[in-house]
Symmetry: C2
Subunit: 214 residues, 2 copies
DNA sequence: GTCTATACTTCGATAGAC
DNA sequence: GTCTATCGAAGTATAGAC
């Protein structure tokens, strides 16, 4: 019945997520994280030791959750194409629940993994690994053509992350009337699902395009 | 015959490109840019006024160059699918010539365009606009199925930028033997070209998959 | 566990001589 | 145009009372 001794670490993590997503590691301010979490700044150092340790903890949790969802889908009984659609939808859902996810991921890629230690790297790599398992199943049953797993993963995850993280910039573009930047999530998800299914479709079902095109 | 009064601004821009790509706007240090450019820090302020003005100048130049290349390809006489392949190859080439391009673009998306002013935003928007023109030509001739131009653009540009920027992180993954992170550029470019062609292939040539899948 | 107060450092920017 | 020297702001981190 005892209420948890403290909810402070959770609140700090949530506030850190927002701050790191919006400003990156270097741009994030521990003062702002403390204010947003409604805790004293000293508490952050008490619970996490340093700004970097806090950052790594956040990344590990995020990657772990993404990998868990993909593994659950890969292990389910549905057909490979259905699992692929589900994987795309699940990653989009997760990224929208945890709205900091896309920006944090883009930044970490851009920074060349500068803030990653071994444990965080392992958590990160579990995501493409789970996706590769899902692909392998489709290839075994002949439903998917064989592709480079990492190339396929990048083709799927990059547009999702990019699209979601680019929401503010697309908003700016719409306000400035420079291009038509309207693109609803549902439209985009269906587009990615369609693209990935076409990418993985075996050659045999497209005999009309077998040779000499471009 | 007079040699340019100064090459300092060019050297500063080149050094800034490296610094901003590696560390982001907040992480970039004006001192480091000055050292790398072999100029005094005061010269940066003399020529550009502020760290942010320098950053914007760099982004404008980069986006302008990308848009120019796409426009040249869209205006050329080749078939739409050939132009698509060429556009992908051209963007990859440009990004590899200017190796800071991918990381800077990822960061700017992640930051929600926080450092963009009107002129920079206009330069940025010219890139998807040129790509949309290329797509529209294919749709008019019936070579491409109609797609949401921005969705198609994201599906193309995100994997390219993501793949190139992720080179250091993939290197880390390879060293740690967690997953097979080897993926040569040529393999990846062909993968993206294939994926985009399949994405844009008209429905009519794939009658075997018309309905009730997933 | 939580706070106040502050030490220490780094960085963007500028003044002013040449 | 170029340099040295430095100011002032901002930020990470910690000491120490409660």
């Amino acid at each position: 019945m005892a209420r948890p001794a403290t909810v402070t670490p959770e609140r700090i993590l949530a506030a850190a997520a927002t701050e790191f997503a919006a400003r990156g590691f270097a741009g994030a301010r521990v003062d702002r994280i403390a204010r947003r979490a409604r805790v004293n700044k000293a508490m952050i150092y008490y619970h996490f030791g340093s700004k970097q340790a806090l950052y790594r903890e956040l990344l590990r949790l995020t990657f772990r959750q993404a990998a868990d969802r993909l593994r659950a889908i890969a292990a389910s009984a549905v057909s490979a194409p259905a699992a692929l659609d589900a994987a795309i939808a699940a990653l989009v859902d997760l990224a929208r629940e945890r709205s900091y996810f896309p920006a944090v991921m883009l930044r970490e890629v851009a920074e060349g993994g500068a803030h990653l230690d071994g444990a965080t790297l392992a958590a990160l790599s579990a995501v493409p690994a789970a996706f590769a398992e899902l692909l392998a199943r489709g290839v075994r049953t002949g439903t998917f053509r064989p592709v480079h797993p990492l190339a396929a993963y990048v083709t799927m995850i990059a547009p999702i992350v990019f699209y979601l993280a680019s929401s503010p910039i697309r908003q700016q573009l719409r306000r400035s009337h420079l291009i038509d930047a309207a693109l609803p999530v549902e439209t985009f998800v269906r587009h990615v699902q369609h693209t990935m299914r076409q990418m993985l479709a075996p050659e045999s079902i497209r005999p009309a395009r077998s040779l000499h095109d471009a």
